[in-house]
Amino acid sequence: MPPKAFLGEFEQMVLLGIAKLGNEAYGPNISRELESSAGRSVSRGALYTTFDRLRGKGLLDWSVETGGDGRTGLPKRLFSVTPAGVAALRTSRNALLNLWNGLEDVLGESPR
């Protein structure tokens, strides 16, 4: 059963970023990843509420670890995409690819 709603663009980006970072997926790294691959600045307020929302939907999860350098002893959260999250990403991707299909001429690009 696919999830009822599609993922929003930002939600997709966040889940993809987390998946890509693997064991390094915590706040500052995710921000940096998103900013470098998307080429725009990311509001931390939007980012952290998106984490909460995605967890509410059961698409990601986090574990709390002790903090490292520059955190004045504050803990950090390591994020991971849940199986449901992977499924949702897959659904989104398929849907998009289906839509892309046949538009190569219009967009002047070949599908990757």
Binding site: P28, A46, R53, V64, G67, R71
Partner: protein
């Protein structure tokens, strides 16, 4: 590269974050992330890094703070697994309120210009009220910082004919009799305070300084119920003359001269050449009877050559604590009875001195300032009402353009009640933002107010921003929001969607227009009241500064000087004082130097009873209204007081009097009295000259009869020097100091001031109130003018097509101008008539503040009317001009 090192982010942003984020691991991890990123952001310069942190912190706190607030209010939170369950009725209600708030916030953001103007107007109104209330609260409402303060009274002793003009104080003998004879008064205490004259000389390590001292009686501190913060106050056995001196310091003196050293208690200070042991330091909140008091001494310090202790010299100010169950009225009756008994027993000194006044201590401290403060609070209240009317009008004008929106919502089934509530929410939100801005304004404003008041506000250190003031600001804000919010809400409740939607927003109902007109008339009327008040005060102030004080104000330097009595016989005093005067007079640029026991404009003539022989050869006794002034030769010359007859004093004038004209006229009916004799006690004195009248008791007080005498028969250690100079008097002060110290390097001097400053200080209170009323009136006038302008230009806008039609049909510019101006002048005349009526009714509250002008002064009202009509004309002329520029083709096409 050590960019991993921890750099501290902006602390305030951090505090905000901590408040907004949940305190669990999630919140703490977000905080950690942001800190880490802040530390990592090394390529940025520190400032933009701080900026980045601030932006992110506000973004994160905004979102999380929002969410926490909502969940605290029981609203649904859009996060968390599963659907929200069924919600209770209360939660639904909260949710709808929440919707209103969000909707209101959106409306405010959508029209920033409107919101800014409305908030500014409200901030002005609420800020002015909060600022003035903070003063009223501190001065009039809050209890004095003494034990059971409402039970403490001030007792004054007056003359049945002259009232309290000559002073309110008791002689030491009358004081003792009062204390012994009273049962309604539990404790009675006396003290001696005269600004500038009851000073002592402190000799420490630095140059000698002159300090304001207050000799007090035994019961003074116990009666007020105030303890020393370090050490103790006086013990009963320390009030014996000849005992070793003890002194209690004020917190201010302790800080300035002893560097707040607790070891100061127990140390010895030299006052006027006599050693005193410091036994205590008072808390900084204790400054009775005045802010400039530096130390308190036992009354036994007052010796005969300072003020003779005789029944006819009344110099002890008296406070008392009512006995349990006793009322002010009962105490008044008893004090009067005691004074009447004393008048019978001692007719020589106490005849007609039977007037008593018993008033709560606060009333005595506040005095005439009470009325002025209430007047000011009333004035700011009017400003706030005008602000309400103005914002109400702005909202009404806007509501017209929103009429369609509201009509659509009603026809779609929106409940009117709900609409009204939503509009009220918008108004209250506006008021809230205005209130916050207003409180900030007041916070800054109070300091300006205190600085401007120049000592007019008694005990300004009592002013503080606390819960009471916050409560007041919240109440004012809420009331304000309801008042101006009622207009658009009331109007929305009456909208008829079918009419509104058919005709379109361009042609609303006439009724609304009537409401706008009423508001403008009200604004105008309120402005007239304020401007009339300000006008009366301005005229009164002008009269006041025009008063000829009887002396020449420019180019005179004044300074107080108290000669140390340690190694002097009191008969030597005048000669020592003259040495100082001669030294100063020898300075280049000094034209004349004179001295007097009292400071100018502060009264202080000593009352004596005189014998004289009238023109018919009959012996009479005189108890003149004012008193005897001890002056030195050169006094009249230094002050530029005119010599009417006879001659001025020379150094050898013993047993010689100079009278002022008022005195000569009172006693003989004319001034041709040089050579006449008078008696003081058994001493016979000769009148050698007549001088012009001087306003000795203050500019606003009529010149009274006065006698002048050289200090030989009446030596007094305090003297104020008057130094007439050729150039800037203050520039001469260092020369004067050197000249005095060339006679005795240990002689302290008080503060230098020009006579101009002294005179100007004498009218500080009326100047302060006049200035404030002027400011409030100016604000009122501006707001009222804007109100007229707004309504008229709105009307012109709505009648554009009508104007176009009229022009197309041949109306000339003049006709259109008249048409539009007719409306604005009609409004303003209506407001003017109502306002003048209101001002006349209210002006009696101002009468105690007015000098030389009647509260119903026709000239003032005429001038005020002219100003208001001018403002109304200008406010109406600008939109009228626009009406004449209407292009008929354009106007008709848009129809």
């Amino acid at each position: 590269m050590s960019h991993r090192e921890y750099r501290r982010p902006p602390w305030l942003a951090d505090v905000i974050l901590r408040l907004a984020l949940p305190s669990d691991a999630v919140g703490r991890s977000i905080l950690g992330d942001l800190r880490e990123e802040h530390g990592l952001a090394s390529p940025l310069d520190p400032r933009s890094r701080a900026g980045w942190y601030w932006r992110q912190a506000l973004g994160v706190s905004g979102r999380y703070g929002w969410r926490r607030t909502r969940s605290a209010l029981g609203l649904n939170v859009d996060v968390g697994p599963g659907k929200p369950g069924p919600r209770s009725k209360g939660a639904l209600f909260m949710e709808s309120i929440w919707q209103d708030i969000r909707y209101a916030a959106r409306t405010m953001r959508k029209s920033p210009a409107f919101t800014t103007i409305a908030v500014l107007i409200l901030a002005l109104g609420i800020g002015a009220n909060t600022a003035i209330f903070s003063v009223v609260d501190a001065v009039l409402l809050r209890q004095l910082p003494y034990t059971d303060a409402p039970e403490i009274v001030r007792i004054s002793h007056g003359h049945t004919e002259h009232g309290f003009d000559r002073g309110r104080d008791f002689s030491p003998q009358d004081f003792d009799d009062l204390r012994a004879g009273s049962v309604t008064l539990e404790q009675v205490a006396g003290y001696f305070y005269r600004p500038g004259s009851a000073t002592v000389n402190l000799k420490g390590d630095g140059p000698p300084v002159q300090l304001q001292a207050v000799p007090v009686s035994e019961d003074f501190f116990p009666l007020l119920g105030v303890q020393a913060s370090i050490g103790r106050t006086f013990a009963p056995d320390e009030f014996v003359q000849g005992r070793d001196g003890v002194v209690v310091l004020s917190a201010g003196l302790w800080r300035r001269h002893f560097g707040s050293d607790p070891g100061a208690v127990g140390s010895t200070v030299t006052l006027g050449g006599i050693p005193f042991t410091v036994i205590g330091v008072m808390p900084s909140s204790f400054r009775y009877p005045a802010n400039d008091v530096s130390l308190w001494l036992p009354m036994s310090y007052m010796t005969e050559n300072m003020i003779p202790s005789v029944r006819h010299l009344r110099w002890r100010s008296v406070i008392a604590r009512l006995a349990p169950g006793a009322t002010v009225e009962a105490a008044h009756g008893e004090v009067t009875a005691i004074l009447e008994r004393l008048a019978e027993e001692y007719p020589g000194s106490n005849e007609k001195m039977t007037l008593a006044k018993v008033e709560p201590l606060r009333d005595a401290i506040v005095g005439n300032t009470r009325t002025a403060l209430w007047v000011l609070l009333g004035a700011t209240g009017l400003v706030l009402l005008i602000a309400c009317a103005n914002v109400g009008n702005l909202l009404l004008a806007r509501a017209t353009s929103r009429g369609r929106e509201i009509a659509v919502r009603i026809s779609m089934g929106a409940q009117r009640g709900r609409l009204v509530r939503q509009l009220m929410t918008e108004s209250l939100m506006l008021a809230l933002v205005g209130g916050i801005a207003g409180v900030i304004l007041a916070y800054v404003g109070v300091d300006v107010l205190v600085a401007m008041s120049a000592g007019t506000i008694p005990e300004p250190e009592q002013i503080r921003f606390d819960g009471r003031l916050a409560g007041f600001a919240v109440a004012v804000t809420a009331i304000t929001g309801v008042i101006f919010g009622l207009f658009p809400a009331w109007q929305a409740a009456r909208i008829q969607p079918q009419v509104m939607l058919k005709d379109g927003a361009a042609s609303g109902k006439r009724g609304r227009f009537g409401l706008q007109n009423i508001l403008v008339v009200a604004e105008m009327a309120l402005a007239v009241i304020l401007v009339s008040g300000a006008g009366l005060m301005i005229k009164s102030f002008y009269q006041l500064v025009r008063v000829d004080p009887g002396f020449e104000v420019e180019n005179v330097l004044t300074v107080g000087l108290r000669v140390s009595m340690v190694d002097l016989e009191s008969s030597e005093l005048p000669y020592r004082q003259q040495e100082y005067i001669d030294a100063v007079a020898a300075l280049p640029g000094v034209i004349a130097v004179g001295g007097s026991k009292t400071a100018p404009l502060e009264g202080g003539g000593e009352p004596y009873v005189f014998g004289y022989v009238d023109d018919n050869g009959e012996s009479r006794r005189a108890d003149p209204e004012s008193g005897l002034y001890m002056v030195t030769p050169g006094y009249f010359e230094a002050l530029g007081i005119s010599m009417v007859r006879g001659r001025s004093f020379t150094l050898d004038d013993k047993r010689h009097f100079i009278l002022n004209e008022a005195m000569a006229r009172t006693l003989w009916g004319h001034t041709d009295v040089v050579g006449n004799y008078m008696t003081v006690g058994s001493t016979e004195v000769e009148v050698i000259g007549i001088v012009g009248d001087v306003h000795n008791d203050g500019i606003a007080t009529e010149a009274k009869s006065a006698m002048y005498v050289l200090p030989y028969e009446f030596p007094r250690s305090a003297v104020t020097l008057y130094i007439r100079t050729t150039n800037d008097p203050l520039a001469a002060s260092s020369d004067v100091r050197r000249a005095v110290w060339s006679v005795d390097p240990n002689q302290p001097l008080g503060e230098f001031a020009t006579l101009r400053q002294v005179v100007s200080g004498d009218v500080a209170t009326p100047r302060f109130f006049t200035t404030l009323l002027m400011v409030f009136a100016g604000v009122a006038l501006t707001l009222a003018g804007l109100g007229i302008y707004g309504v008229v230009s709105y009307a012109v806008g709505r009648r554009t097509s009508e104007m176009g039609l009229r022009m197309a049909l041949g109306a000339r510019n003049g006709n259109l101008l008249r048409l539009v101006l007719g409306q604005s002048m009609g409004l303003s005349l209506g407001g003017l008539v109502l306002g003048v009526m209101g001002a006349l009714a209210l002006s009696r509250f101002l009468s105690s503040q007015l000098y030389g002008v009647a509260p119903t002064d026709p000239a003032t009202y005429a001038a005020v009317s002219a100003v208001l009509v001018t403002v109304a004309f200008v406010a109406g002329y600008l939109p009228a001009l626009r009406a004449t520029r209407v292009d008929p083709v354009q106007a008709l096409r848009s129809e």
